[in-house]
Amino acid sequence: MEPLFHAAPFIGYVYPNETVIPWSLLIVVYPYLTGLVAGAFTVSSLYQVFGMQRFKPVAHFALLTSLCCMLIVPMPLLLHLGHPERAFNATITPHWTSAFAVFGYAASFYACLLVLETWFVFRPHLVQQAQGKGPLRWLYGAASLWSYDLSEKAMSYDRKWIFALAVIGIPAAHGLHGYVGFVFGSLKSREWWSSDLMPAVFLFSAIISGTALLIALYVLSCKLRKTPIDLPCLKGMAYTLWGFLMFALVLEGVEFASLVYRGREGIDAIMQYVGGQLVVLFFILQFGIGSLVPIVLLSYMIWRGTTGRALVAGVVASAVLVLLAVFMMRWNVVIGGQEIAKTGKGLLAYHPPIFGREGVLAAVLVVLAPLALLWVMVRLLPPWATKRDAIDLA
């Protein structure tokens, strides 16, 4: 008999309506993107706020990466909504008891902050281009708001703004992502999600994913531009990745341990899930390959003082694996929570469709969209240190 509706297969007993998984692959992509936003911004802040000079080569690039990811963040949500044209209902008439009601405000505030900080950071470039003879000078002129003052006084004024925005940006970026963790952690209907540690788990995994993305993109861009890789900078990012990766692992371990230790109703189904579907998705992909291998690799390189090509290869490999681990973490939280039935007596299996609005193809395009945007942005606003900057540094 041909089914009328392609529902998720299940074992045990699940409520009839649960066989349609509400939050699809796109809702896996959504916290993944906000995580990249927060993580990339963290690296940018390490230079802008905490004055860590070794991060200077990637500081502006980190800001652009954060901005490009942020501009795409609403896309998976809009694609997921049954009525995307009504999305602003949540902003026009927010229902304040909902964690989602804050999203419009928090995201808009942070996006504006990012745009403003980017504008101040790249203002000298905008002005130079606007006063040059390039074909896009009118565009740069408009982008600079026809304010061409690059005097020392104006620049120091700009620096104050950049510092202030970067300082405000730290709680804004991390608050935005911590709140995404709250969206899941605050729901009492699912034991898999209902945890006070969820915002913190999301936050630390966000920082490592953003740092990992920057490592991968920085090395790739150096190869494409045929410029030498700044090893102290790369090593700094590797340290950041290593440190926060340990925090992320400990937090997730503690969260999982308390879930099992509490052993509330439905724990049998959860343990069946952990010993079944999660073996590959969590223990092999997320924990083993994605987290343990990078942490061992990074520890070894730091211990041995590895440098040169071996350091670059090792750090990039770790970064790529961490990107995989964080994606798997999002999957295991978002999809995992829905694969464990609310009855506490059954398990479902989610198989995303390839095509369609919420299919694999759409999700892949949404993940690639910030990279495409970044590809354009680095051409319009080159984030790399120029020769003049190098002389200044010397």
Binding site: A7, Y15, P22, L81, G82, H83, N89, P94, Y157, K342
Partner: protein, 282 residues
């Protein structure tokens, strides 16, 4: 050089201050519109409370407090309630979208845990021959059954509904007469409420792009009728009525029985009262 720059800097400051001013004005305008909306909606609510104009002119929702009862000892699993609900409320005709459903619990000899199934079980779909018709397959006819019973399920119209709490737009709300409704013209279809409901009673309506669930047939009860499922039940397993009326069927049901609710630990304070269910029912 400095003299040239000063006016420019001042111009930029002026521009930024104007920008700030414009933002403040826009903010004030938005806040004004929102406040106006709030005033209008408050006015509408007080009008309803006083005059009783929702959803029909002669219905006053402050004069009722609806509740629902299920006597599981009476249910025979005929599923007329399910079919009545599907027709009455135009619920998707398949085995994965239900405003109400019935669960079967069967304890076989020598087994500790019950075997539980409902209409979405492939064996039951096979037995009915169609996903549009609902039947319990006679799958335990050759087994030694120790205990078996049916449990009808429906939205609990909780006093503290988690679905209402998480709705970002307020499209789902609790009425004054105790029913949880969804405004299908305002719902954005995010399905946060579907996730938040501990009872799995909400689902996504693909055709309309909004969340959907049982309304206790609000269009009927406000006209003095019973919900379709209650009316269709041939054995009186489903009881509905007004708690404000001490002699209503539901008031008597609660007063004359030792009732319980599902998942009380959720803190949702459900308003569907059960008699004759087992510890395994959740």
């Amino acid at each position: 050089m400095k003299q040239e720059n000063k006016p420019s800097l001042a111009a930029r400051r002026r521009f930024l201050s104007k920008l700030g001013g414009a933002a403040t004005c826009t903010g004030a305008a938005v806040a004004g519109v929102a406040a106006l909306g709030a005033v209008q909606s408050a006015a509408a609510k007080s009008e309803t409370a006083a005059g009783g104009s929702f959803p029909t002119a002669d219905y006053d929702w402050t004069q009722h407090r609806w509740a629902y009862g299920v006597d599981a000892t009476k249910c025979i699993g005929c599923l007329r309630c399910v079919e009545a609900c599907k027709r009455e409320n135009d619920v998707a005709a398949d085995a994965h979208h239900f405003r109400t459903w019935v669960e079967r619990y069967v304890y076989l000899e020598g087994e500790d845990k019950p075997r539980i199934d409902s209409h979405h079980d492939p064996v039951n779909i096979e037995a009915s021959g169609s996903e549009r018709e609902y039947r319990f397959a006679n799958r335990y006819k050759d087994a030694k059954v120790e205990k078996a019973f049916f449990v009808p399920k429906i939205c609990n119209h909780c006093t503290h509904p988690a679905c209402v709490q998480v709705c970002p737009t307020g499209a789902t709300y609790k009425t004054k007469d105790g029913v949880v409704l969804i405004d299908h013209k305002y719902c954005i279809g995010c399905q946060y409420c579907v996730q938040a409901c501990p009872y799995g009673v909400r689902f996504f309506n693909d055709r309309k792009g909004v969340s959907e669930k049982c309304t206790w047939c609000y269009h009927r009860i406000t006209k003095g009728l019973q919900p379709a499922c209650v009316e269709a039940c041939p054995v009186g397993a489903r009881i509905f009525g007004d708690l404000q009326d001490r002699q209503s069927p539901i008031s008597l049901f609660i007063r004359n029985n030792r009732v319980q609710v599902l998942k009380p630990e959720s803190g949702n304070a459900p308003n569907v009262y059960y008699v004759g269910i087992d510890k395994e029912v959740s």
